[in-house]
């Protein structure tokens, strides 16, 4: 486990405070999308499939901070689109760090070196780059539909590390991913010196018979078991070990999408980062008026049936850690031994 102790403590004490206050639903990570524009056009990426006037729009820093202040989570993740294309990204990160939020800037890193050289950011324990890499060079360039992106991203990572920034990676694994190549990828990232890695299965939704749904889930468990059942001590993951066990099929959780709420130019997205069923004008309205019972695997909603993505299930894993001594013990055990 690679999350720094101060960050672990901030999250632990936050969750305990929520529990003591008797809050049933609380946010852990705000997914703050200041824009949908991107300098890549990965096939099937729903974030960039909008008419031009929407892609030109972005939130103001004031709108971003008002959303953060209302929601008040311990962690803010800034995905997109490509946040390094957001003209106010420097001031936004600075303001979030000043609020002592742990900030993950999720980037494809094409512009990273350039923005670092321009002096846009300062290293801080509250601030990490989370670089999108879906595997080694061949796999990543194929995933993002453009050659050369892996090399640019690695250059960006090296430059950020050289300048003293925290750097993590985030990888989405689709059905058919090569577990052995991904293990090589983990080695390569550790050799580069990244602080930790985040992995999540891709979200796929298609109408299919029950048996096919079952097989898809089974294949995902098999993939993550092959990847993680014999982890190397040097691999560090910047996420809950219980979530990784969930991906391996060793635990079952229910989705808690309010744990990772999403705010963007349309407002507060219902119900989660992946699915757009409408928007609320405030976080309060999102919490109070979303029909949460209609989502998650046990809801019977077919769009949720195969879903195991981190934005729905990682908050559940964190919640479980603090819900019982057993959850806490299992988390500590996996963290200390590095085994899942």
């Amino acid at each position: 486990m690679s999350v720094p102790l101060s960050q672990m403590w901030a999250i632990a004490s936050y969750v305990i405070r929520q529990k003591l206050a008797g809050r049933e639903r609380y946010p852990l990570v705000l997914m703050l999308e200041p824009l949908f524009r991107c300098n890549l056009a990965c096939a099937g990426c729903g974030k960039i499939q909008y008419p031009a006037q929407i892609l030109r729009k972005h939130l103001t820093v004031e709108q971003c901070l008002a959303a953060v202040d209302e929601c008040d989570p311990p962690v803010v993740s800034i995905p997109g689109g490509e946040p390094l294309m957001y003209p106010e990204i420097g001031p936004l990160v600075k303001a979030l760090v000043a609020r002592k939020k742990y900030v993950y800037l999720c980037t494809n890193a094409i512009l990273l070196k350039q923005k670092l050289e321009a002096g846009l950011f300062e290293p801080s324990k509250y601030f990490s780059f989370s670089v999108h890499l879906d595997g080694l060079r061949a796999e990543h360039d194929e995933a993002v539909c453009r050659d050369g992106v892996y090399v640019d991203a690695v250059e960006g990572i090296k430059e950020a590390l050289r300048r003293g920034f925290r750097v993590t990676t985030n990888s989405t694994l689709f059905d058919g991913a090569d577990a052995l190549r991904m293990r090589e990828f983990f080695d390569t990232m550790m050799d580069l010196g990244v602080e930790g890695m985040m992995i999540s299965p891709g979200y796929s939704y298609s109408k299919a018979p029950d048996q096919e749904h079952f097989l898809r889930t089974q294949r995902a468990h098999d993939l993550f078991s092959t990847l993680l059942s014999n982890p190397k001590r040097r691999w560090k993951f910047n996420q809950s070990p219980l979530f990784l066990q969930f991906l391996m099929g060793k635990r079952d959780f229910e989705c808690t999408p309010w744990g990772n709420p999403t705010y963007n130019v349309f407002g507060w997205q219902r119900p989660c980062y992946l699915m757009q069923e409408g928007y609320a004008a405030s976080f309060k309205e999102l919490l109070e008026t979303t029909r949460w019972e209609n989502y998650g695997r046990s809801s019977g909603n077919e769009k949720c049936r195969d879903c195991m993505v981190h934005c729905g299930y990682e908050p559940s894993a964190v919640h479980h850690t603090f819900a019982s001594w057993r959850g806490f013990r299992d988390t500590v055990q996996a963290t200390v031994t590095g085994r899942f």
């Binding site: 096939a43 990426c45 006037q53 030109r56 729009k57 689709f174 939704y205 407002g267 409408g278």
Partner: protein, 122 residues
């Protein structure tokens, strides 16, 4: 009339077999601009990003073609919605991209086949 590609250019006439609520739902799912025709005859071109019928006065929200908004329009004020803009999601799924790539490979190496591909989220 269920997927985006099929919706592009659709100019539904609300009434028999085509309820307004259904057209609004399709406009909400559609990844392109539409033209909302109001009962007073006025038209607004833009992107419908929200709709809510679980409230006392159901409404849609949109940004117009210049990005101005959000503009709220009550269901009761909508005569129809025409799917006038290009569907930005049409043909750009991850599965479609892999199929095209695989087809190109197969053309080079005709002995290799391909499996159905997954779709990409986000």
């Amino acid at each position: 009339m269920t997927d985006g590609a099929a919706l592009e250019g659709w100019t539904p006439e609300i009434g028999k077999g085509v309820p307004l609520e259904e057209v609004i739902d399709k406009a909400f799912d559609y990844r392109g601009n539409v033209t909302v025709v109001k009962t007073d005859g006025s038209e607004t071109v833009g992107y419908v990003f929200n709709r809510n019928r679980d409230v006392a006065v159901p409404f849609v929200q949109m940004f117009d073609a210049d990005g101005a908004g959000p503009i709220s329009i009550r269901y009761a004020d909508i005569r129809t919605i025409r799917f006038t803009g290009r569907d930005t999601a049409a043909g750009s799924s991850y599965a479609a991209w892999l199929r095209a790539k695989e087809a190109a490979k197969t053309a080079q190496h005709p002995e290799k086949g391909s499996d159905p591909a997954p779709s990409r989220g986000a």
